[in-house]
Symmetry: C2
Subunit: 491 residues, 2 copies
Amino acid sequence: MQIEVNRQLPVPLARQIYQAVVDRIQSNLLEEGTRLPSVRILSKQIGVSLMTVVQAYNELEQDGFIERIQGKGTFVQKNKQGGTTDRQESPYDWQLSVPDYLPRAQFSRYYQLSARFEFFSSTIDPGLLPNRYLEKEIQRILSQEPRILSTYGDVQGDPVLRTELAGYLRESKISTTSDEILVTNGTQQGIDLVARTFVGPGDIVFTEAPTYPAAIDVFRWRGATILPVPVDEHGMRVDMLAALCEKYKPKLIYTMPTFQNPTGTVMSAQRRRQLLDIAYETQCLVLEDDPWSEIHFGKQPPPSLKSMDSLGHVIYLKGLSKILAPGCRVGVLAASGTVFHRLVAAKGNTDLGSPMLTQKAVLPLLHSDRMRNHVKKLRIALQLRRDLMIDLLSVHMPKDVNWLIPQGGVNLWLALPVQIDTEDFLGYARNYQITFLPGAACYPIESKHHFLRLSFSYLNEKEIEEGIKELGKATQSFIKATAAYRKAPIV
Amino acid sequence: MQIEVNRQLPVPLARQIYQAVVDRIQSNLLEEGTRLPSVRILSKQIGVSLMTVVQAYNELEQDGFIERIQGKGTFVQKNKQGGTTDRQESPYDWQLSVPDYLPRAQFSRYYQLSARFEFFSSTIDPGLLPNRYLEKEIQRILSQEPRILSTYGDVQGDPVLRTELAGYLRESKISTTSDEILVTNGTQQGIDLVARTFVGPGDIVFTEAPTYPAAIDVFRWRGATILPVPVDEHGMRVDMLAALCEKYKPKLIYTMPTFQNPTGTVMSAQRRRQLLDIAYETQCLVLEDDPWSEIHFGKQPPPSLKSMDSLGHVIYLKGLSKILAPGCRVGVLAASGTVFHRLVAAKGNTDLGSPMLTQKAVLPLLHSDRMRNHVKKLRIALQLRRDLMIDLLSVHMPKDVNWLIPQGGVNLWLALPVQIDTEDFLGYARNYQITFLPGAACYPIESKHHFLRLSFSYLNEKEIEEGIKELGKATQSFIKATAAYRKAPIV
């Protein structure tokens, strides 16, 4: 277990240690029953006082993450739901002492949960996607060019696809060419490429808070110091970003200005301009993640940061197969200059390039008017589902549950009463066959625990209807149980 | 430009700096005409004496990598072939001062070169692959399950495919189950996952020397100290590995015991046992890369390290789509215990899982006897091409060119006369429409320059025949030119 603390930060050292241990437990990287290092050893290893570690361990014990057993040591707490037995000895036990460089992997843990009502999933209902059309096109392409199964392509991506992608981005005023486009295995790889190339130990990365949990996983892995900037109804609080940048020189600002994940908010045009000015002043990079700008329900959102940037500060990510064929995992990265060239080199080191088959599969739709028609259809279908979900929430949720109404995208951000921990609630809600994203995973540090994200894109109308009814029941019942549990010590 | 040196190593500091700069230039990460930091600044940044940097810069200048311009500074040398003009000022020039964590990306640079005779490419001739069969199977699968285009799969890989893969590995005595199999985007991603999870700054990684260049790229990126172990006709010199391990505690041993890349040698069963014992004693991990063990021309090679390992030290990589459908980029990683679980978590952080479409595409062949028949056919076809290439080399190459005869795999390792630098020769050979892998890229440090790797798998018989004739001409002519150039100063 390698823990690093940063003395420059306004966050107490004990709190930083607490967070590092919780991240590993929440990511299943510290398994139940694993013995933690003693206070003495950990304080020496990190270079902090004994008292600091004692304080961190006390808080971890209070919050039920670890337990101390007299004369034996400190252990990761068994699952609160119980049911696991003591660990058996295994021939692989020596592996526990192999240190790794993986402090956090929370998102993919939630991502793996399955249930009848997967409000967690922010992919689009397969019923809304042009599978049959793509299937026919893939048949046509394979019979014309069977060799795409047997040859490697460009590291940078298929040139024909890159040309189409550049054209597609130009429609939203991003001035780019096929030479400045890199095809990735989904947006997640795009974030990872930027992190592995430009982010390292101690570098300052600013993100929105809350933000996309898998981005936190990746920046944390690189040893970055992640500083959160709050979000209000006009997106990231760029005024606060500016104040923080006075003290902390950023290497990278990671932002989702349009239909932010998880809040669904849109950054105003004025703040976009200000954010770009900050990047120019501080000579830092901006990673703009834009999965959903096509899916707007009202007026068109302001232009992307990338379209406003003439100096090559913005690296732009578009998860293209998200709205076409998520199973193909085709993402787009657009950037300029040596920053772009270095990212292409990193892609080579990572996997030598994306598969030809999936790149060719998404091509036919892009090439035609079908894309525009498909997007129009999606907007209508998803707006209907958003409206349905909001109506149902109003009926079935307790009065003290609130949410923002997103003007696009696929996510709803719910605030439950402050005493509720949505991580615990997720465990409870699974009895109702429900998954969602608990809010705590969306904060790089000092998490808020009473939020959760529901996606309205994956389930169809009928499933949303049944699912939100169940969620209403689960919420009522969990709030009652929490209140009873809270009261218990007093009785 | 971030350069790190390691004072524990038997390699002089000036030489380490030299190597770091050459790696970046060879990887196109330092572009022609880029200004290097002054001696004073670099010595301060690295923490070495002025004289050490002066010595490194002198050697770089002598070898034609950099040039000093009086009153202006030190610059990366313009391409020896000439033809580039002075760099124009660009709005992106500020990017040159953005530090990155990408010290080397050599392999993908060579990988991008195209020519009529691509002896570089170690993929298999598409004409030998079952494209039409796979095409029909993909059609069948898509019409049965069009939703594989629109849904994400397991991070760990499609369970049906994992079950087939486990069965396939068990045929070669690797005792594994679908729970211990991770599907990757080709072997390259497997190496990358292991490096990002278990290798960090200052960790000791042992590799064969020569070895697979893209593995060096990845370990160097992680800041590891890579220690080379020579190879003889029985594979890695495990006796030397043992001696080195007395002084340097390994974190990881990276090896290709069977038909080693690039030499084609096979590690003896005795050395395999010894290597595993070293791993057990030093409590380190072993990364076994096994792309070609199926493709043996004589007797079956000894069992894999993985099949001999009961304690979970070996992480095993198999580039499965290499022999089926390289365009699908499907690789297999097999490991055990928490080491395996941590790698799955890392895969989640990297890309949330491989595309369903490519995973389903390789399934039908694996499932049937066709796989075995296909491998038999490949063995025969590739042995014929190896024999043909060796016959042609004997006829067309100068007498002082030598090679090992591989008993399997796809590569031939050639030794040219020692005065030849095959990196320069590659530039020259491109006039003959030839590519190959220059040997220097295969060494982590202290490269040998007169070797090159030819692959006999990608080109068909006719192309091999014409290509080796051209290579013969190019070699004769280059050796003559080099001799003349060497003599010139004397005349």
